[in-house]
Symmetry: C2
Subunit: 167 residues, 2 copies
């Protein structure tokens, strides 16, 4: 039971125990962390991160532009969203305006620069997807997406069947 | 572009933007978070969490019993592992002994209670897997696992091909 100190012994190779590698939830969790890290890195060159992309994507759909509706769409708390909108506004990617009929309410809109940045971020997301899934054929990728969508419908309320974007 | 205040309008349903739902990395990331949360809850009734299970699983394989080797196997930093081992030792699930030939080195072993707990945690993990994947057929589950293993071989060094547990 002692660990051998030989550097080329099997015991010296850092690896997960077999029962974890055999566990689909474990792989999902660890791959989820890995893809998040890769995404953070990929967005960094724009000084942004995937949460900024998510906010811009909500705004681009054009149906939700109050701070509350944007936060609800993404499951972010209000404070987190306010911080993200501050960062996007500093970069002139969004603008906030008071609702003339309700001064407590702010409307948020993409600026033209925000639209251009969103286009670039979509390209970053696509590159990330291509490189993350590089080991899979097109058919395997489609199969994986279908399976994850089924799981998402069950476990992620914002992907549930009946929600307008759940196809 | 204004948000309607009608509660049954489509715009009022909190949902992710379509481009995020269409993104496999996004679904992987969010499902990874969801399964982690469910796992934390499932282990809580034992006063433990999935990282304790991971440590017990490494010890059960019997090839790595120094603190350094256990940390390496799981990708935990040493401080994190020491905390986990303290918690496991308090519950008498593991015991640490100084190596007589190298007093700076500690060997860690499962106790009989640790083995019994590991058996229970395996059942918890299996239940979690069954409920998380409940929407999928046995064939779809197997396909998902195979696909995630392929991705893990690329993105998780501790699952890489050539590592003894990567089958």
């Amino acid at each position: 039971m002692n660990v051998t100190s030989s550097p080329d012994s099997k015991a010296a190779v850092p690896r997960f125990p077999a029962e974890l590698i055999d566990s689909t939830p474990f792989l999902l969790k660890r791959l989820g962390f890995a893809v998040k890290e890769q995404a953070m890195e990929a967005y960094e060159r724009f000084g942004l991160n995937p949460t900024h992309h998510a906010v811009l994507a909500v705004l681009d759909e054009g149906t939700r532009e109050t701070q509350g509706a944007i936060a609800d769409a993404l499951g972010y708390d209000r404070g987190q969203l306010v911080g993200l909108l501050d960062e996007l506004e500093e970069r002139a990617l969004v603008e906030r305006r008071r609702d003339p009929s309700d001064r407590r309410r702010q409307h948020v809109q993409l600026t033209p620069a925000g639209r251009r940045t969103l286009t670039r971020l979509r390209a970053v997301a696509q590159e990330l997807e291509n490189s993350f899934l590089a080991a899979l054929s097109a058919e395997e990728r489609a199969g994986l997406h279908t399976t994850l969508r089924r799981l998402a419908e069950q476990h992620l309320p914002r992907c549930a069947v009946g929600s307008p974007n759940a196809r």
